[in-house]
Structures are given as structure tokens and as C-alpha cells.
């Protein structure tokens, strides 16, 4: 025993020294990124949260005073005994934009996942010219959102848009429709454009997951005589699930804070106003800087809660491997 112990000791020491060196190296490599993140993400975030507890306005940011939770909820009791609630949490416009955002996110992410999965399955098959198709499919994703939003705005234009033109010629509609301005169709228009734009991203993430699945188990399934549809549900889907879950959370986070597409395509339409648009409006257009900060903070909170719930419920594995 004594011999073994005296032999073990130096080994253990060397090991921990090695680990210490590695940890130090890791911190050195991480430090620049942490500093930059703190400056461009951490600081603004903290400032926004701070402003949401003040009465700051665009003209008077420096002189902002702490007012506690007033921006979120203020309760005033009038002399008559009536109690008046005010603030973000009882603002119907805010809740309308929360509902818009959630509706938009769920529909767009579900559609993108389904279509993306189909596209990925096709791209995963062997066929001539697969490389070109794979590259081509990325184009909608590669175009900057502002550009593609402008492009679609023109295509959807009620007077000159090609979409109205085509639908009229096909006899599907009888009069031109103002797709982006109309309350009934604005959300649909935004959804179509977003799905068009981000399905490639989904498809590529899923494709990467599909390519991790060894091909020989499909041959085993063939010999087992399993129907291709059953193979999809029982083999492909369970195996691609980890990649799929990560892809969905990426997209979900993106969709929940959507701003640019809606700002360009359907500005001021209450049917498509999302949390981000609501926050920006208050921050800069309505000179309610503190109120907008409160909306931003709420958006941040909602995103965090949804992400955490999703990761726990979905048992998402970010570490990779099986």
C-alpha cells in the first residue's frame, strides 16, 4: 500500500498541473471573445434593463430617474376609490404584439421544419447535380433580409406586383389584393416570405444531421423488410432528432425576435406587429424610451423562459454525440 501510494502521488500531481495549464490556455483563448461580448451584448443589455426601471426619454437619457416597476405595472388609486392599472403588463397593444410574435414563430418554425425536412431528405438522396442543387437552395438564405423583403414587397405590391398579376391571370382572385396592407393577409404574406427565406437554413442543418446517420442501417432495414415510411419514423427521425431540436431552437429564437422583415414588409400593421417592432416604436418613434426598454426587457425574459423550457422539455443535447 505504502509503495503504491508513494508511486501514485507524483502522477496525480502532474495530471492536475496539466489540467491547470489547459484551463489557463482555454481562458486565454476565450478572453477576447468574452470582452467583446461584454461590450457589445452585455453592456447594452444591462443598460436596457436599467432604463426600463427609469423614466428616461430620448431627450433626457442622462437625467433618467429610478421609478421602479412603474413601466411594467403601476397601480394608482383615485380619490373616488377607483384603481387604475397602467404599464406594459396591462397594455393590450403589447399583448397583441406578443400574440402576433408567438403565432408567427410557431407557424413559421413548424412549416420551415416540415418543408426543411422534406428538402433535406431529397438533398440527402444520390442524384446527378446534387452539389449544384445544394448550393442553389441556399440562395434565399444568403440574400440579406432587407433586400429580400424589399424584393417581396414589390412582388406583393397591390398595383404592380407580379403575384397579383399571376393570380389574376390564373383566375384565382378577381381583384387585386393589397397583401401586405390588408389586415387579413398581412400575416400570411410575412409568413410566406419568412418560410421562403429560412427553410434553406433548416434544410441544411437537418441535412447535416441526416449525413451523420450511417447508410448501412438503411440496408439493414431493407433486409428486415421495413417499409420506407416506417423507416423514416422509426429510424431516420429518432436519429436526426438531436440535430433537429437544435435547428428548431435556433430558428425559434430568431423568429421570436423578428424585426427587419416585418419592419420592411408591413410596417404599422397591427396584425403583424411583433415584440421587437413594438419595442422599437416606443423607443424611438413615440419618445417612450423607458417604456420601450421595458418591452425589450420583457422580450428578453420571454425568450429566456421559452428557451429554458424547450431545452428541459425537449431534452436537447448540445454536446453532440450519441
Amino acid at each position: 500500500m505504502a509503495v503504491a501510494e508513494s508511486l501514485d502521488m507524483p502522477v496525480a500531481k502532474a495530471g492536475s498541473e496539466l489540467i491547470r495549464q489547459r484551463v489557463r490556455a482555454a481562458w486565454i483563448f476565450l478572453a477576447p471573445m468574452l470582452v467583446v461580448l461584454a461590450m457589445v451584448a452585455g453592456w447594452p443589455l444591462l443598460r436596457s434593463i436599467y432604463f426600463s426601471f427609469t423614466n428616461a426619454s430620448l431627450t433626457n437619457i442622462e437625467g433618467a430617474q429610478w421609478i421602479g416597476f412603474e413601466n411594467y405595472l403601476s397601480v394608482t388609486t383615485l380619490k373616488s376609490g377607483r384603481v387604475i392599472y397602467d404599464g406594459l403588463l396591462v397594455d393590450p397593444l403589447w399583448w397583441q404584439s406578443v400574440w402576433n410574435t408567438v403565432r408567427f414563430s410557431v407557424v413559421s418554425v413548424v412549416m420551415e421544419t416540415i418543408i426543411g425536412m422534406m428538402v433535406a431528405l431529397v438533398l440527402n438522396a444520390e442524384f446527378r447535380g446534387r452539389g449544384i442543387v445544394r448550393a442553389a437552395i441556399l440562395i434565399p438564405w444568403a440574400i440579406p433580409t432587407i433586400v429580400s423583403a424589399k424584393m417581396w414587397a414589390w412582388m406583393l405590391n397591390d398595383q404592380f406586383g407580379i403575384i397579383n398579376d399571376i393570380l389574376l391571370h390564373l383566375g384565382l382572385i378577381s381583384t387585386k389584393i393589397a397583401w401586405t396592407a390588408n389586415a387579413d393577409t398581412a400575416m400570411l404574406a410575412v409568413l410566406v416570405v419568412d418560410i421562403w427565406k429560412t427553410t434553406p437554413f433548416m434544410a441544411l442543418l437537418i441535412l447535416a444531421g441526416l449525413q451523420m446517420i450511417p447508410g448501412d442501417i438503411y440496408e439493414a432495414a431493407k433486409i428486415d423488410g421495413v417499409h420506407p415510411i416506417k423507416v423514416f419514423w422509426k429510424v431516420t427521425l429518432p436519429l436526426v432528432r438531436p440535430a433537429l431540436m437544435v435547428a428548431v431552437i435556433f430558428r425559434m429564437l430568431d423568429a421570436l425576435r423578428i424585426f427587419d422583415l416585418i419592419y420592411v414588409l408591413t410596417a404599422n400593421n397591427s396584425q403583424t406587429k411583433t415584440m421587437s417592432v413594438f419595442a422599437r416604436e416606443n423607443l424611438f418613434d413615440f419618445d417612450k424610451f423607458a417604456y420601450g426598454s421595458a418591452a425589450s426587457t420583457m422580450l428578453f425574459l420571454i425568450l429566456t423562459v421559452i428557451t429554458v423550457v424547450y431545452i428541459i422539455v425537449g431534452k436537447v443535447n448540445f454536446e453532440g454525440g450519441r
Binding site: 442501417i217 423488410g225 450519441r322
Partner: protein, 363 residues
């Protein structure tokens, strides 16, 4: 019980011709081993039989039925892949039961019985609830074999099933596969390998493939002792047969050949009289060469390399030819690099191949 009949089987991928007309009769219950150098088309042939690839031309019959167009699952075959091909997200039990569960017409108790039986045979019962990633390579391979057994196939197909295992495990699993074959008379097994030992020990008959053609079919020892041609002669045996260009001095009774740079020797082969003067190839296996003690010798030369393998010693003798002559000699022979030796062999071990590499039959 399943006979397999292959007639003129061809396979090409686009312009690449991989198999050039394979004819083969496989009897029910036989253990057939495909061997051949890498890229010769062994796996392709196996996959054609399995139905994982389309047959370009020719017919494949199993049990008298042409199965060219039949789906793999309907051919009564089971396949064990080199990479195991287990479903990574399913337990060992589910891996084995998956095919049966999804094929209609098996009730739960029947599936359970079959899976447990197979698990018993292969001694993997303790691992039934584990995932493949929680098993060692050898255990995974047994699960793959178990999955094949559960299918209750008429024909078992193995594609290099042992190549991912270490040497000791390979021997153990080889023996298990042999036992499995004996315990299932009537089940045909087709086994692809490039390991000669596996081929020699497992096969009832070996099929030697080369560049998409069958070179020879026969029982292992038959192929070893009477190779039909130079390719088979060189391919089987380790180290491979010593070969050397020679000239036929005379044919007929007591034919004589003269290996280049050596003395003429009498061989026991049927060489026609008309072959006199023709170019040929002379061959002798390393284990058939002995160090001569009476001065009579086929080859003389200096020992270049001495390899002591333990049970035997290999010596590489430079006889002036481009390739050294290898001899397998007893491990107690005292010999050192640089020694001059004379190598001899019994006449019955000598082989002669004609200009095209076809063996002159031995008498």
C-alpha cells in the same frame, strides 16, 4: 433449405464493369467463402445476392425461383454487415426484434421467444436492454449475427464480419460462426473475407474471385494443393508460393523444366510433349522447401533475411532472381544472415504453370 444458382451474373456501375459473368452453383447447407484481393467484387456479388444492388445481366435463383426482381426481405436471406449496421437508438432486444415487429403476422410472444433463443445461442442475454454503444465490438458483432438468426433465413450472408475485431476475438468468433453453421444444417452460408485463415477454416468450398471473375471454386485443401492457375496458387498460402520463370525442357513422361538460373528438374505434372521449349512458370510453396543435406538442390543462394516467427522460421534466399525465394523451416534450424544454403523439395510438391498461367495438372 436453399440452393443458389448464379448464371452469367454481371454488374456494372455506369461504364464501370465490376462483375463479368459469374456462374456458380451453391448447394443448400453449404458454407461458401468468397475470397479475392481488395476491389475484386466480393462485396458486390454478395450485395447482388442480398438484393441490395440490381443485377445488370444474368439470373439469380434461390430455391429454383428467379429472384432478380425480388425485394431483399422476400429472398429469405439475412445479412451481417462488416460495420454491424445496428440501429444506434434501439436496445439490443429491439435491434433483433425490429424487423419482425414491423412485419405483420408475428405475435409478441413469438417474437420474444425467437429473440431470446437467438440471444441464448450467442450469449448476449445479459445485454438485451443495452444500446449498441454500450457494447464492445465483439458483442456488437454477436448482436448483428443474432439479428440475422432471428430472421430465420434460408441463406446467411456475411460481409467481412470479423474484420473490425482484434486477433483473439476474431478466432473466437470464427469458431462460433463455425458452430452456428453446424447447428443449422440446411442453412446456406455465404461469407466474404480476405483473410485466408477464415476462408480455409470455415469454407466447405472457396470461391476465388479476381477482377470480377471466378478463378476457381473448390474445397479449401483442393484449392491449396491443386490451384488451377497462378493467381490462385499465389493468392492462397502465406507466405505465398515461390514462383519463377522457367522453360519446359521436355514433356510427356517424366517431364523436365529448367527454372531460369537453376539446374533442370524432373516434375510430376502432365505436360504435353509439344510444350517442349515453351516458356512456363515454376512454383513451390515455402513450407515444401527444405535445407538440403545431400548436395542435391533446386535453389542455391545466400540468406538475406531470417524471420523467426516462433513456431517456424522464414528465410529469404537470394538466388539471383528479382524476388527472393522464401522457405519455411523448423524453428530449431541454426542459420544466420549471409549463410549460403541449398534448398530442395520433394518432387510431388513442384508445380508448373503454362505461359497463360494455367496449371499443368499434377500426376
Amino acid at each position: 433449405m436453399a440452393d443458389l444458382l448464379l448464371r452469367g451474373i454481371k454488374k456494372s456501375y455506369g461504364n464501370v464493369k465490376v462483375l463479368h459473368g459469374i456462374d456458380l452453383d451453391i448447394r443448400a447447407g453449404e458454407f461458401i467463402v468468397f475470397v479475392g484481393p481488395s476491389g475484386c467484387g466480393k462485396s458486390t456479388l454478395l450485395r447482388l445476392i442480398a438484393g441490395l444492388e440490381d443485377i445488370t445481366a444474368g439470373t439469380l435463383q434461390i430455391d429454383g425461383q428467379v429472384v432478380n426482381q425480388l425485394a431483399p426481405s422476400k429472398r429469405g436471406i439475412a445479412m451481417v454487415f462488416q460495420s454491424y449496421a445496428l440501429y444506434p437508438h434501439m436496445t439490443v432486444y429491439d435491434n433483433m426484434a425490429f424487423g419482425m415487429k414491423l412485419a405483420k403476422g408475428h405475435d409478441k410472444s413469438e417474437i420474444d421467444k425467437r429473440v431470446r433463443e437467438a440471444a441464448n445461442i450467442l450469449q448476449i442475454t445479459p445485454y438485451l436492454d443495452r444500446l449498441p454503444k454500450q457494447l464492445s465490438g465483439g458483442q456488437r458483432q454477436r448482436v448483428a449475427i443474432g439479428r440475422a438468426i432471428v430472421r430465420d433465413p434460408k441463406v446467411f450472408l456475411f460481409d467481412e464480419p470479423l474484420s473490425n475485431l482484434d486477433a483473439a476475438l476474431r478466432v473466437a468468433t470464427r469458431i462460433e460462426i463455425n458452430k452456428l453453421h453446424e447447428s443449422m444444417p440446411g442453412v446456406t452460408m455465404i461469407y466474404v473475407t480476405h483473410d485466408q485463415v477464415e476462408a480455409m477454416t470455415l469454407a466447405d468450398r472457396i470461391v476465388v474471385l479476381n477482377a470480377g471473375r471466378v478463378e476457381q471454386v473448390g474445397p479449401p485443401m483442393e484449392l491449396y494443393h491443386n490451384p488451377a492457375n497462378l493467381f490462385v496458387a499465389r493468392f492462397l498460402g502465406s507466405p505465398s508460393m515461390n514462383t519463377m520463370p522457367c522453360t519446359v525442357v521436355s514433356g510427356g513422361a517424366n517431364p523436365v523444366v529448367k527454372p531460369d538460373g537453376c539446374d533442370p528438374i524432373v516434375v510430376q505434372a502432365t505436360i504435353p510433349v509439344s510444350a517442349a521449349g515453351a516458356k512456363a512458370t515454376f512454383g513451390v510453396r515455402p513450407e515444401d522447401l527444405d535445407i538440403s543435406t545431400n548436395g542435391e538442390a533446386i535453389f542455391r543462394g545466400k540468406v538475406d533475411i531470417v524471420e523467426q516467427l516462433g513456431e517456424v522460421t522464414l528465410i529469404y534466399v537470394d538466388v539471383g532472381a528479382p524476388e527472393p525465394i522464401v522457405a519455411k523451416i523448423p524453428n530449431d534450424t541454426v542459420i544466420a544472415k549471409g549463410d549460403t544454403v541449398a534448398l530442395t523439395s520433394e518432387r510431388r510438391h513442384l508445380q508448373v504453370f503454362d505461359e497463360n498461367g494455367i496449371a499443368y495438372p499434377r500426376t
